[in-house]
């Protein structure tokens, strides 16, 4: 069974910018799923459509087996989101925000308070817990968003660049917990540019490019592919697969003209 399914998702912004061009995606239940794509591929647009904050032009979204309309919001009780744009009011403290989030997700007051406190400790936000969120660094703000996405133990977590700006210690803790959640049956979709993180963390990966899915495979299969490549095939890493998929393998090899000159004048090698 799939926790998330997108069928023919299409989105055209004003000025005729086509962000999604019939995107299909299936995210199996209990899977740690990586969504990759170059800048402007449509990852954030797809996630914003699932979160109901961007209107789709066409296509179907199914979350936890149920079709989702533009104005539905009940499914959000079972889903946690970290979106590209922050989802909080900056003149609140993290404690106030998380306690309100807990109430929105219909947790009991005491339970909400307790979980908010635990999340603040987990994300190492105690020091600034009485300051307004607007005074936080971007990494800390990302942690606040993550904390709010986790507070109600969602069945499906959809995270847009969740580790961006987060320090390595917290990033490792977050990754460990995401793994644990997936083991317990939670489905996690992570959109990221950090190929290494996705490769190490995710069970399955999809690459989208120009609003369409161009590759979806189990990470294990990709590893196998990479392994074969070591023994004489084309690819050596997920990075190469990614570049080959979105740029035909040759789009990223250009060198700035003035660097070329420098190189030619010098040793002649890169």
């Amino acid at each position: 069974m799939n926790s998330l399914e997108l069928r023919g998702l299409r989105k055209k912004y004003k000025r005729k910018i086509l962000a999604l061009d019939g995107l299909d995606l299936e995210v199996p239940a209990g899977c740690l799923f990586g969504l990759l794509g170059p800048n402007g591929a449509g990852k954030s647009t797809a996630i914003n459509i699932i979160a109901g904050v961007v209107r789709r032009n066409a296509g179907e979204v199914r979350v936890l087996g149920e079709p989702i309309g533009d104005f539905d919001y009940e499914y959000k009780q079972r889903t946690g989101f970290v979106l590209e744009k922050p989802v909080y009011i900056e003149k609140l403290t993290v404690k106030e925000y998380l306690e309100f989030a807990a109430a929105m997700f219909e947790l009991e007051e005491e339970e909400g308070r307790q979980r908010a406190g635990e999340l603040i400790r987990f994300f190492q936000l105690e020091e600034k817990q009485h300051k307004w969120i607007e005074t936080y660094s971007s990494g800390m703000k990302k942690k606040v968003s993550l904390a709010a996405a986790l507070i109600h133990q969602p069945e499906l977590l959809i995270l847009d660049e969740p580790l961006e700006g987060v320090d390595p210690v917290s990033a490792r803790l977050i990754k460990d917990n995401l793994r644990l959640m997936a083991q317990q049956g939670v489905t996690v979709l992570i959109s990221s540019h950090v190929l290494d993180t996705i490769e190490k963390l995710c069970d399955e990966i999809a690459i989208i490019h120009r609003g369409r899915r161009v590759l979806q495979a189990k990470t294990e299969d990709l590893r196998h592919r990479i392994k074969n490549e070591v023994t004489g095939e084309t690819f050596q890493s997920l990075e190469e697969i990614f570049i080959d998929t979105v740029a035909g393998g040759n789009g990223q090899r250009e060198i700035l003209s003035w660097l070329k000159e420098e190189t030619n004048e010098g040793s002649g090698e890169l």
Partner: protein, 237 residues
């Protein structure tokens, strides 16, 4: 291990959420309400009070409360009718999370009503002490506030369903004037029922009906309209 059935789970998760909404909205209003407005307000009222002779016939019904409220509603207008825009990201916060819009509107409306009543009490008190006008009748004051409050809340609710306004520019002045006119309009039932007809009963009945209309019609309608316009509002945020 105890087995919890679906009904029990539902019971466990049922909590008095409205209290949480009130608490949150209270914090938001406190943090985005600028107390310096109150000083401007007080100065404005004092100037007008000097301008209007306290013993002129006009002042018989344009009493302290009316003048005070006129300025309060004009200045607090942004909290009445732009309550969805405390910060640029507020609509995004409301629509991305499973926020109950009806509870949000109810909480915001009640809180701004509380701010209005509190401000009326403080400013009227100051005026009464400083200028010693003709005694303000408590009954009339209460009837007046009750009769204008709910139509004004509805006016504000309907006006919040749009992009964020820009205050502090030329359009800010026109908004101020429009709010003042809305206030004069909302005062008409009091003038007709209490001042012209002299009826407490009619004035009170109107207030009760207005309150019922606010609760049963204005709140659900505002929530529906906000939801229906969410993509447009989000694009403007």
């Amino acid at each position: 291990m105890a087995i919890v059935n679906a009904k029990q789970v539902e019971d466990v998760r049922k909590v008095p959420r409205f209290r949480s909404y009130l608490r949150l909205e209270g914090k938001i209003i406190r943090r985005y309400l600028h107390p310096e407005w109150m000083v401007v307000l007080l100065v404005g009222i004092i100037l007008v009070w000097y301008w209007v002779e306290p013993d002129s016939p006009l002042i018989e019904y344009m009493n302290v409360a009316l003048l005070t409220d006129f300025f309060l509603v004009s200045i607090l207008g942004m909290y009445f009718q732009d309550f969805f825009w405390a910060g640029d990201d507020e609509p995004f916060f409301r629509f991305a999370l499973p926020v109950d819009l009806r509870l949000t509107i109810r909480a915001k409306n009640l809180l701004i009503l509380g701010v209005l009543l509190g401000s009326v009490a403080v400013v009227s008190g100051v005026l009464a002490v400083v200028f010693r006008p003709a005694p303000v009748q408590l009954l009339n004051g209460t009837l007046f506030i009750l009769s204008v409050a709910f139509p004004l809340l509805h006016f504000g609710n309907m006006n919040t369903i749009r992009m964020r306004r820009k205050y502090g520019r030329s359009e800010g002045l026109s908004i101020l004037v429009r709010n003042g006119l809305a206030f004069v309009g909302a005062s008409l039932p009091y003038v007709v029922f209490r001042v012209v007809l002299g009826s407490v009963f009619l004035c009170l009945t109107f207030s009760v009906l207005a309150a019922a209309g606010w609760y049963l019609y204005s709140i659900p309608r505002t929530a529906r309209l906000l939801s229906a316009n969410k993509f447009e509002l989000l694009e403007g945020s």
